[in-house]
Symmetry: none
Subunit: 173 residues, 2 copies
Amino acid sequence: PQSHHAGTGPQSARRNQPFLTPPEEEEGGGGMGRGKIEIKRIENQSNRQVTFSKRKNGILKKAKEISVLCDAEVGVVVFSSAGKLYDFCSPRTSLSRILEKYQTNSGKILWDEKHKSLSAEIDRIKKENDNMQIELSRHLKGEDMNSLQPKELIMIEEALDNGLTSLHEKQAL
Amino acid sequence: PQSHHAGTGPQSARRNQPFLTPPEEEEGGGGMGRGKIEIKRIENQSNRQVTFSKRKNGILKKAKEISVLCDAEVGVVVFSSAGKLYDFCSPRTSLSRILEKYQTNSGKILWDEKHKSLSAEIDRIKKENDNMQIELSRHLKGEDMNSLQPKELIMIEEALDNGLTSLHEKQAL
DNA sequence: GATACTATCTATAAAGA
DNA sequence: TTCTTTATAGATAGTAT
């Protein structure tokens, strides 16, 4: 009821013809407006576009209404067949937050390839980490010396000598 | 017009009172049904729940319809105020794919937070990794032997002996 | 693509089961 | 919570701008 035009006078009274095609009964589906329509792809490109535009607005409006009326969190993303994007997200939140909640709640994972690769990298590094931990441990216990390279063994031999020296000094106390 | 009940007879004819509360004009908003409602949070918990249930179904239906009629990709996620989840995704695709497209198309990053935390974890683990690498290296070079316990040194001495033996054998070839 | 204008068809607020 | 019924407010198909 927003008098957006503030009628100044009866300047426009007859635009449409009174619709003179009454008995055109086709298959009944679910629709609305002047004629019913079936819920199946609208083949006429032009009609499809117009219907999309109107219904898209309708959905976004409904989404906004339910979010306000019922204090619900709503996220809607729509792509026209031409690939144009439209979206809605309830106030006080963000699509990000809604989707994070979605994942927690549904158990489904939504994130993209980038995240998968990041997660994979984390797994890889963690494994590398574990291996290194094990290796370190084995070295500390002196196992697996056979797998060391000659150069390394010599370095260790020298180092060990120093270590033993200080060890013997300590034991002498 | 799907005759889902196939009326067998006039078994129920009068259920409701003819609505005897005519002039209850409140503030006009936007609504529908027997009485108009404003688009503002419904305070009555019960009514809010009922309205949510009905409108939620309505939105999901509309989403399905537009996806079929207009060949559009639609994703809808709804959380009731109680936190229950409902969702819809057009056929032949997935929320994941729709959201990926959303990001590409809008330039908005939906996973910013997740992204940051994953990246942070990677940095943390890498650093841990580096530290371990350094420690391992120091052990290999025999530094820090002074901090080893006597028992460990003896074990290493023995192991080293084995290592040296096999080393000398290799060098003898 | 979006809007305007209607006639129609839907969605749904209320209330009770 | 879900369903039914009824009365209405909304949404929208068809058309023309």
